[in-house]
Symmetry: C2
Subunit: 344 residues, 2 copies
Amino acid sequence: MIAVESLLNGNRLALARTLTQIENDTPEGRRILDDLFPHTGQAHLVGVTGAPGTGKSSLVNQLARYYRNPPDGSSPRRVAVVAVDPSSPFTGGAILGDRVRMRDLSGDPGVFIRSMASRGSLGGLAVATSGIVQALDAAGFEIVMIETVGAGQAEVDIARLAHTTIVVEAPGLGDDIQAIKAGILEIADILVINKADRPGVENTERALKSMLELAHPVEHSFLDQVAHHQLLSEQNLEEPGPTGEGHIWEIQLIRTVATTGAGVDELGLLIDQHRDHLKSGKGWSQREKYRLQSELESLIQAALVNRWRDSFPEERYFSTLELVVRRHVSPWQAVNLLLDGGQA
Amino acid sequence: MIAVESLLNGNRLALARTLTQIENDTPEGRRILDDLFPHTGQAHLVGVTGAPGTGKSSLVNQLARYYRNPPDGSSPRRVAVVAVDPSSPFTGGAILGDRVRMRDLSGDPGVFIRSMASRGSLGGLAVATSGIVQALDAAGFEIVMIETVGAGQAEVDIARLAHTTIVVEAPGLGDDIQAIKAGILEIADILVINKADRPGVENTERALKSMLELAHPVEHSFLDQVAHHQLLSEQNLEEPGPTGEGHIWEIQLIRTVATTGAGVDELGLLIDQHRDHLKSGKGWSQREKYRLQSELESLIQAALVNRWRDSFPEERYFSTLELVVRRHVSPWQAVNLLLDGGQA
């Protein structure tokens, strides 16, 4: 049994063990999550995403340094990094490796790094990541960065998990990247052109700016975007509505060079500004609510499937599947047979 | 009402309308899928995936030309392309655009191209794509290529949909691409190094070969891989087992230059060889069964959630969500309240 108190008191070993229980979705892990949950809701969750080759990991390292050594002399903040690698669906092992990353920060008790590999579908990765983030939040990390690789659904899941979403681009990453960006841009609060010392940075910036203008002619609102997305019901999501001119956040575009640290202080300030922006209006609580609703629905889906699976005779499931394989019934007809108890 | 006969007879307008009904998951679309389903199971489903910038689309175009103008003088095959773009989760519109692609093939009635954007989670994209592929299969296309962009869960879903999975790489795409490859390689039947006229192709090939050796020391078996993956139950998946020495497919590595067409004929031959390999053993029927089982389970999940949603008082759902937002109950506690009818 892991004592929740030791975790709340900053015991790193207890934390590491807890995260393993959560990632493996054990009964112990669920119990701890239940106990920790009242202590969550304090951390600023920052999602960092972008295509491979943009230098996201280096940028996250630099941001961690920024929080530990604030240039303005303010108090260091405790920072956790959750590195999600959706590229390894089968092996179950995160490739990035906690230990090879951020070697120079590894002795610092104010920094915690955790790598996660992708899980099966049915929101498995999002649910597991959500639990990990809750534990880090409860353990007192003021900043939790969630870093992911890729272009697709994983990024949407990050947008759901994070208060502030950073999309990282880089000059000259190939032709059809341009097509990708348009979709990814829609989840960005802050857009970073990393590797900005490389040739072509002006072209990249120009292309991004014109895409931003196309995508967001008037304003950018996270909830405008997510309102079109699947939820069990949208009705409880308040309309962004008129919150005053000062409450519209325009996507910020910034250049960085993670290898030298150029632009990182400015990026750190922008992240704080976005947090202040959210907290000054309804943005923060809207994103909190959206995130928890999204998690709740993933859990309901998983629970419904598990209950059905446990209660249904496996033999009949496979005889129905066999009818589909032989093309005697269609997949939808099979669903009706299975759920309505009709005769196959 | 769309007549299924006109679709089976090759009426393109009927086909296009059908695909729209299927993509929007209308009652009409489901009815047609039920009627079409007995006519499916003929097409060779070929998945093509890889990171942005590898030139997948050009390669798919070249393969379509290959099937329409076979170099060995055999009969042209009817070919359909489903281009899945998971990078645009919110807009619901496919960016690639059917019309700008493959202009020179567009007058050919033996070619059909359809773009799809990503849908919400819960296997939405995989389910919709599966329906589209079934309709194209029933409409008599002998080859259905499913092209997707990205690195992650979408690729696993493709592996489930396709008989033959092609992973496209290219030289010099950045540093952390190397990390990605290891995961993606596990779903490949054929590995293509496109843009093979670029510098660095030898390094890329060497890296891929050593990764292949690491990942598959003895043999490569799709079912070995998927056996570890989530399904309601694995028991009905037959073990690959000893099917004779001739039935082990080693991942084939091939260089192409899609812009010039170099290597495309060889790739086309390899794809046919993989089909023959699957059909000569149990591979083809195993993949068919796995694919249909995977689809059936996605549909069951969706149906269970829809039924619960329709039967549950929305008001109580939102009052429970509010308890979570206020941290009075944890997400898992809320699930128990919602599904077991406990008092909140």
